[in-house]
Point group: C2
Chain length 528, copies 2
Amino acid sequence: MLAQVEKWDFFEYSLPYQGSDNPFLDVTLEATFVHSNSQVRVSGFYDGGGVFKVRFMPSQEGVWQFVTCSNIPVLDGQQGEFLCVAPSANNHGPVRVFNTINFAYEDGMPYLPVGTTCYVWNLQGDELEEQTLETLRRSPFNKIRMCVFPKRYLFNRNEPPCYPFPGEVTQIWDANVERAYRSSEPPQYWDFSQFNPQYFQRLEKRILDLRTLGIEADLIIFHPYDSGAWGFDRMPVEVNQRLLRYLVARLSAFRNLWWSFANEYDLFIGRTIEDWYQYMQLVQQIDPYNHLRSIHNCGAFYDHNKPWVTHCSIQSQAVGRVPSWLEKYHKPVVIDECGYEGNISMVWGDLSPEEMVMRFWLGFTQGGYVGHGETYLSPDEVLWWSKGGQLKGESVPRIAFLRSIFEHAPMLTPFKKLDMEYLDLLNPEVSGNLFGAPAGGDKIIAEGGWNHEVGGYNLEHGYYLFYFGMRQPALRNFNLPDGKYRIDLIDTWNMTLETVAENAMGQTSIELPTRKFMAIRIHRNFDS
Amino acid sequence: MLAQVEKWDFFEYSLPYQGSDNPFLDVTLEATFVHSNSQVRVSGFYDGGGVFKVRFMPSQEGVWQFVTCSNIPVLDGQQGEFLCVAPSANNHGPVRVFNTINFAYEDGMPYLPVGTTCYVWNLQGDELEEQTLETLRRSPFNKIRMCVFPKRYLFNRNEPPCYPFPGEVTQIWDANVERAYRSSEPPQYWDFSQFNPQYFQRLEKRILDLRTLGIEADLIIFHPYDSGAWGFDRMPVEVNQRLLRYLVARLSAFRNLWWSFANEYDLFIGRTIEDWYQYMQLVQQIDPYNHLRSIHNCGAFYDHNKPWVTHCSIQSQAVGRVPSWLEKYHKPVVIDECGYEGNISMVWGDLSPEEMVMRFWLGFTQGGYVGHGETYLSPDEVLWWSKGGQLKGESVPRIAFLRSIFEHAPMLTPFKKLDMEYLDLLNPEVSGNLFGAPAGGDKIIAEGGWNHEVGGYNLEHGYYLFYFGMRQPALRNFNLPDGKYRIDLIDTWNMTLETVAENAMGQTSIELPTRKFMAIRIHRNFDS
């Protein structure tokens, strides 16, 4: 009987071979998988202990056959087959860009990214890592940003359980090394001609743990929080390229994988924008499954219009700019870092829970996605944002509530101030328009900037959402287009949703409770 | 014995004459006031009932002599004198621009504008007007925006007690006429060749009432909230010019007068930007006392760099842009409208008190000034923002607290993200810098926009102020320059100030309570 593998799970084939001093460099191994008209070529990788592996994620049901190709005769021409069966209930395939600015799983189910960040949760030892997984299981998060490499930074002083390359650390800078940048060369600890398979086995175990929880692993390949202490941020180009090939060979068969090429790419020293272009293009070329690709800024944005970028992964505290980024890039906008809920001494980690939740609503209402992080001071230095552990903040339940709202929302387009649909919807004879100006509203954008009241809509679905942030209107007036509408009042902080009108038509006034953090949802009754 | 007039009070001289059918057009009257080397020429005006008046505000103590000049023999060549004596304790003269971006009274005392808006409080009848004055007396406000002309708008349906021109209203639009703009011509109600002195007597009584309370009258000459119902927003150019001359003749001797040429100048129809230039230039030319001159936008800003503009009077909800406006205009920045505390259905009148107070702190900390207004729904339609009456909101006591802080602050310069003084002050080895980026902070400005943590400083005074808004840091680290410092923790919402360090030096950590709306004040001890 053939081995059975679910669609979008992976098939793994092992080949023993011990005849090389450095199998990472000496041996080439590929396999071609064939299914009726489909043919997919994947790279194998050396997994240590004299074992090579080939992994493959099938995206079509039925029998797949494969044959290997290698410069080593004993690894060459090996053949086999397996049966790809229907996916199980919680397996929807990899996430893809859908509808230009949104996401969906490959089976068509919409995917709403509600992400968090735990940069190196996977390098904290089993006890803490298991706790993190348990916390994630009970959380609203379905995406997590995490790093391939260990991190050396504030609140990140511990060494990882092992290292990605063979070698031994003989001196570790003892304080504040994130600002050191002492040399443009990495230290001489490592044999960069090989990998440490154990390190990557740990990594992939955790990615698969996330897969079990239905969480996408937004895997950050490079980051600058090393500062030359280990030197993983300043390896030679050929080592970086070999790493990328190794990661693709090992990990790309995991359906919940996203490639994030860097965190704060613009903080690296000695790496040009062309280097980043080449790394992303290389993976675009060799990843058989075309996983999502992004790169995350500190200050200056990467050019997200580049064709190898699938979506914008943004750091910015100005979440109100989602509409302008959507317009500029025509790709999904994910603000992976808008600041974190917490109380540390940096402005990127001291948001009140109210501010964190407000930023989520501002972003999502306008058709973007916002990511969470948590940085509460803790004597054990276990801050969620980098090590995982337990969530302590007040924003998480509100983010779960937000997710429950937006998972039932159609795709939203942000209102612009002079958007005719918008102005038609509002009832200017009674309320003035939303932006307070009987004329010249476009000029307000130019000079006055964004403000906290935002809206998004989907005309096809007759769906309108308005979020009021720190405003507290007691009344909003609408001029509803043809049809009957249900109107819900949402308290985004107290997590309540109340239907305040059924079958509303035409000119409609909605009363609100003169309270912060409210939203109004208007939805056409298609059954009436 | 000579009549005695305080410096910066006004001397008034009346001249009877009844020989003209239209004294407003037929009679010219001026007077020249002389004091040693000074000579000031002022215009007289007809005050009705056969009486002409000349008013003069002396700015030098001692004897002033005057002589009139008129095309009417009986009004010509009249002479007199009075004695200008020292000002009383609460009289500091008119407010002037000081130190490029700040204000001071003419006697040198700093003036911190803490303004509110009650557009037509002066046209509501004595009972309500007296209540407004009593409310103002107990308030923190020392500036008020108010209109010459009556207002027809939402919540402003009542006719004024009288009209600025002789005539009779024969038809008043009965609803929503602020959006009517039915004709580019004013209706035929008025004799624009004359004024109604009674109307202006009421106006000047109220300006003098404000003067008694130490409140500057930021007098809005033109506004568009008429929409042709009365037509005062679309009078012929020569009527507008005559009005300006009449206002200067009547009112410019009042030391607490500021000229605001328009509210939302960009919403007028049939008036070009050149018209506005000419009106402001005319007053610049004929006002003997050079009162402050500004003009207020709805959307597009007026060019505040024009030499006849003394300060920026801004409408914008983006108070975080104060630093860019200071840099662009090199004049005081007064955000007279950043939105109002209230709960009406428009975004310019639905700010929570927390948001209103936050905008004040954001603006003031960065060297600008922010104005208040209040728009809570009320069955009697008496909303503070237009009619005055009573204040109901929660922001006012916090604004009083803010005033108490900033009245003791030196002039502040906003920190910019790459400001070297700023980066020196912070302790990057411990905290990272304030903006979270070890490098490339300027790029954050370009892409990420302003955020809620702001600071201002005065190096000469060794004074630093940081405001945290919706952030809740538990810690901030500073690298204090030479000297010893007192450090105060300010809760801007709960209105407390606590000294948390005396004689602090060098690297200093300040603990905060993980709470919103906090500020830190750092002040060098010059006596230590």
